[in-house]
């Protein structure tokens, strides 16, 4: 089901972070056939500020309205969204203005995807605090994108490193509430979403390993009963839907199985169970995928890195991997080196 080079929208990210300086690095490193199929959605002045920091010049065709977008124009296109003058912000700080610019450019990208103009979106790092100051009104960009796209079914963030995928059943939940949130239905939903998302990324038959909740996977019920009462039944139920899923596995062996290639995706029960492992296995190269949406959306897993903004030391590798991932997902083929 491989298609030609998809048309990808690249969103500027929080202008107080390293997004603007990553943009030119990312664009310069693209192949010619990729450059022809890229639409940067940014305030021109933000991109220019990034070019100054990175010492790069990017030649692109600036557009001032959606109607001018030509998916086959033969060079990088910039949809210039006049939303933020970088002279008015302080790099490395949380800014409501920068947050508003993020919502405006990201929202535009989502609308373009909804209209079928772009086939996928890759965004440079956002800052959650800035988006909250700007009035995002929901927990995070995933929830926001979901609402804008009219999605009501489960959506979830996936982390990907070197062909290892990770998804979570619960995410930003206090630890004491995690066990109470887990139900058979919720875990089955998460398994099904993982299966669908990896299939979209080109895995014909994704192999999913499900984490236990308790130490030693509960040790036969001696250290917690959730494995017996909830997780194992969910795994069985999902397996009936012809999904290749196994578990629950204790945390300390789960990620070794994925690392060693026995499984493609780990499904963790709570935030830190997955995040600790994911960061150990190659934090700065990681990609986040917003799964469960009708359009592929990816971003580098790292944040805005306020401490190094403007120093031209930001590593573009994760952004490049995020771009490659969204291309692969838009084409429906596996990208194993995210």
């Amino acid at each position: 089901m491989s298609k030609g080079q998809p048309f990808i929208g690249i969103v500027q990210g929080d202008a107080c972070g390293i997004g603007p300086e990553l943009l030119p690095k990312l664009l310069q490193g693209l192949e010619e056939n990729e450059k022809n199929r890229v639409l940067v959605i940014s305030d021109r002045r933000v991109l220019e500020a990034g070019c100054v920091v990175s010492g790069l010049e990017i030649s692109c065709k600036a557009l001032h309205e959606r109607a001018a977008i030509d998916p086959h124009c033969g060079e990088i296109q910039l949809l210039d969204v006049p939303c933020l003058d970088p002279a008015g912000i302080v790099p490395g700080t949380v800014s409501a203005d920068a947050g508003r610019a993020v919502l405006e450019t990201f929202g535009l990208a989502i609308d373009l995807a909804k209209a079928g103009t772009v086939d996928g979106i890759c965004f440079m790092p956002f800052n959650k605090a800035a988006m909250h100051l700007a009035g995002i009104g929901v927990e995070d960009e995933l929830t926001w994108a979901k609402a804008r796209l009219g999605v009501t079914s489960r959506a979830s963030e996936f982390n990907v490193i070197d062909g290892m995928w990770n998804a979570r059943v619960t995410s930003h939940v206090p630890l004491k509430d995690v066990a109470g949130r887990l139900t058979i239905e919720l875990i089955v939903e998460a398994i099904v979403l993982a299966d669908q998302t990896l299939k979209r990324a080109g895995y014909a038959n994704p192999r999913i390993a499900v984490a236990a909740l308790n130490p030693h996977a509960g040790d036969g019920g001696a250290i917690g009963k959730e494995e017996i009462d909830t997780i194992a039944p969910a795994v069985e139920k999902a397996a009936l839907q012809e999904i290749e899923v196994h578990g629950p596995f204790p945390s300390d062996t789960l990620y070794l199985k994925v690392r060693d290639g026995q499984y493609d995706c780990a499904l963790s029960m709570y935030h830190d169970q997955g995040q600790i492992a994911i960061k150990l296995l190659g934090f700065d190269q990681g990609v986040s995928v917003l799964g469960g949406l009708p359009v592929p959306i990816t971003t580098p897993a790292h944040g805005t890195a306020f401490d190094i903004v403007g120093t031209n030391t930001a590593n573009v590798r994760a952004a490049r991997n995020a771009f490659r991932m969204v291309v692969a997902m838009a084409q429906g083929r596996a990208h194993r080196h995210a």
Binding site: S171, H172, V173, P174, L175, K176, V178, A179, G180, L213, N214, P215, H216, G218, D219, G220, A222, I223, G224, K225, E226, P250, S251, D252, L254, Y255, L256, Y270, H271, D272, Q273, Q275, I276, A277, I278, K279, L280, F283
Partner: protein
């Protein structure tokens, strides 16, 4: 504080743990190579000889112990209660396992041994035999008259201590109080000085919640429990860093500034060190008047008698015990 250090001329004592598991195999396998230090073993010598035969390795009975190509090893006999086949559990031998442990603890307390290194036991079997046994750590602590032992895992490069250990995840948050946390941090700081030679050890303290609670948005235990304890203990002179979001506490950049990481629960700390440790992770009990280290793996019943057991963790546990008795 003046604390008695055992006579360094005394040996380290090993216990072989569950006889049907790989504990006896590991001792036999150790004896095939030059021995990693001065130690003796408390076990049934017949068990070692039989296991060596099963694996097909050289071992012979000598005066006071056994000998293999790697050297001579003193054996303190604690006999099996029933014959033992590799991989076959028998509750009759639970008494054998507990007697070895009791002998080792008492010997350490009396100064006859400098440290004890334990092989893996089968908890369920000891309980099935009618003894209340929640684990090595608790058993040894009780015999030393200690209420709150602390489990730490260590490699040469990294140390992780746990505030809670074998608890259901649902009970973790509620069981961490200011009192228990303060006690654990004091023990870790004290023992890092006593057994590992740090003058002013730097302890990294993990948060409990995602992003260490993110100012209370993702949980309040950091604000209500962890922060106040850190402030109090800092005022007593402890070097504490935290609460650290657990997913960044173990990055190389963060670890470079820490001598030990204190994790709030089992799966916050263990997967990391196992990932780093490559089979050389040692389990250490802190808060005891004696040195106790252990392998970090289980009885591996399916490998007993096969010769395929991996001896690196036991070797590391002996090296670690020896290092601790020298206080470096």
């Amino acid at each position: 504080m003046a604390e008695r250090r055992p006579e360094t001329s005394a040996p380290i004592v090993l216990t072989t743990g569950e006889p049907a598991g790989i504990g006896p195999d590991l001792v036999v396998q150790l004896l095939q190579q030059p021995l990693p230090g001065s130690f003796c073993v408390v076990t049934d010598p017949t068990l070692l000889l039989e296991r060596a035969r099963a694996i097909g390795l050289d071992l012979e009975e000598v005066e006071g112990g056994v000998a293999g190509p790697g050297g001579h090893l003193g054996v303190v006999p604690v006999l099996l209660r029933a014959p033992c086949s590799p991989g076959r559990l028998d509750t009759a031998n639970a008494g054998h396992v507990l007697e070895m442990l009791t002998h080792a603890v008492e010997g350490c307390l009396a100064g006859r041994y400098t440290a004890m290194v334990t092989g893996p036991v089968q908890k369920s079997l000891i309980n099935d035999a009618g003894h209340v046994f929640t684990g090595h750590t608790e058993f040894i602590a009780e015999r030393c008259g200690i209420e709150q032992p602390v489990m730490m895992l260590a490699t040469d490069a990294m140390r992780v201590a746990l505030v809670t250990c074998h608890l259901p995840l649902a009970e973790v948050a509620v069981s961490i109080t200011q009192e228990t946390l303060a006690a654990v941090l004091r023990i870790v700081a004290h023992d890092m000085s006593r057994w590992f030679g740090f003058n002013a050890p730097v302890l990294g303290v993990c948060g409990l919640n995602p992003h260490a609670g993110e100012s209370g948005h993702l949980g309040t235990e950091e604000i209500e429990v962890i922060d106040p304890v850190i402030s109090k203990l800092r005022s007593e002179g402890l070097e504490l860093v935290g609460p650290l979001p657990a997913d960044t506490a173990f990055t190389a950049r963060q670890l470079a500034d820490l001598d030990v990481v204190v994790a709030m629960y089992h799966d916050q700390g263990l997967p990391v060190i196992k990932h780093h440790g490559f089979g050389e992770v040692v389990n250490i009990t802190l808060g005891l008047p004696i040195v106790r280290t252990s392998v970090d793996h289980g009885t591996a019943l399916d490998l007993a008698g096969s010769g395929r057991a991996e001896v690196s963790s036991l070797r590391a546990a002996i090296r670690m015990a020896e290092r601790m008795t020298r206080g470096i």
